[in-house]
Symmetry: C2
Subunit: 247 residues, 2 copies
């Protein structure tokens, strides 16, 4: 590598781009510090969106969202990410079909395992899951967040860099008013791998739809902050109680 | 659980708090969407800070930063997080001493393994690592981000919910003008566990200092975005090249 560090930074368009605003002034004078309240509102507004409108997401917005995603801390600055953008309706439809087939198989197994469960109850659960999957597949664009298993910090890429980039991506999408959903089992790994023919060297962190929500969901239950914050020691601090789940 | 969902939400102070601004209006009319550029700047400004001023971080700021941290997506809404806040100078000093001792041991081993390396080169590397560790321990407050191994989605907590909360925390700190550093090996897990007597049921994601940076670092090299974005397929898309690392 004969390129100098400064050249590399310029090459990446960093000094002339969004980073140009970085100052070495003290925290109080920093522009990013002028309105923390506005930023804090964004975190609380990020919600899992389970139904989307067909309205398109302009490529220009997506580029800015992905540009935010890659700004997270990354082990030894390796930036081991791949963002696979899928808009192709045939691919989206194939993922939907495969996810519904996987669900059907699971419910067949459930029915065999839970013979005492009423058919009506099982059918109601199945129908709810089908609606949820249909909702997941109603967005105009999907991003599969992947990390490179051959990067020099591959363990950290999978455990840290990957989820962080996905977290950034979803917040940035929210800043544009788009909804997202951090899906793992919701759209199984094996299905994205097969339908999108993802090479084995890449490990999926999650897949998220990006789109205009078909209505923002009701806020979900959140623990009180003080249940999760301990000072100086965790001894005597009670464990979190399980949260009932009903999406 | 006899509490209703609405009561739980009210109990958590959500409907009357920061979430009160959530609207079900379309994306274009959403307040969070009015200034995406301001939000996007925040992502790019988040940097790993390796030296801090002693200026205190008011508890009120810390509360808001932690409030943001817990807003990330979480498997089955379990919110399996514990945030252990450490301000006690004796504990911080004990972690520093143990981290320096661990470094000394590693360099002894390095010297034995790399007999061909010049003593001067080894000493220069050691001194640089000592300066880095001293810098990590110059902040007034530390947050250990942990997840509960007994939560009902403990695997997802460790792989997803934990790093996401840490990512949110560091961005929120940046909104206030504070620096952070997502430390894993920088302050070894075993050292925080021993010095802070962390119960075995909690798994550490990372520890981060929070404080006013002693100067913002120079921007580091970032890959071009297009190296990491693929459309529809990863076939034919070149792997990321390793990044030379020199913090």
């Amino acid at each position: 590598m004969t390129t100098t560090r400064r050249q590399m930074i310029q090459y990446a368009g960093v000094t002339g781009g969004v980073l140009a605003g970085i100052s070495s002034a003290p925290a109080a004078a920093d522009p990013a510090a002028t309105s923390p309240a506005a930023f804090l509102g964004l975190f609380a507004k990020r919600q899992t969106v389970r139904k989307y409108k067909p309205d398109p997401v302009p490529e220009e917005h997506l580029q800015q969202i992905l540009d935010a995603a890659r700004r997270g801390p990354t082990c030894m600055n390796q930036q081991p990410w791949k963002f696979l953008v899928v808009r192709d309706k045939a691919k989206i439809s194939a993922m939907r079909t495969a996810t519904l087939a996987s669900l059907a198989k699971r419910f067949e197994k459930n029915a065999a395992d839970n013979k005492q469960m009423k058919a009506q109850e099982l059918e109601s659960r199945r129908a709810k899951s089908v609606r949820m999957i249909d909702g997941y597949f109603s967005a105009p664009v999907y991003v599969v967040v992947l990390v490179d298993s051959e990067s020099s910090c591959s363990g950290y890429a999978l455990k840290h860099d990957g989820p962080i980039a996905a977290a950034y991506l979803m917040l940035a999408a929210r800043a544009f008013g788009y909804g997202t959903a951090y899906l793992t089992d919701g759209i199984p790994d094996q299905i994205t791998r097969e339908v999108l023919a993802i090479p084995s060297r890449y490990q999926r962190i999650c897949i998220t739809p990006v789109g205009v929500p078909d209505g923002w969901p009701e806020p979900v239950f959140k623990r009180k902050l003080e249940e999760m914050v301990a000072y100086e020691t965790l001894h005597g601090h009670p464990p979190n109680q399980p949260v009932p789940y009903n999406p």
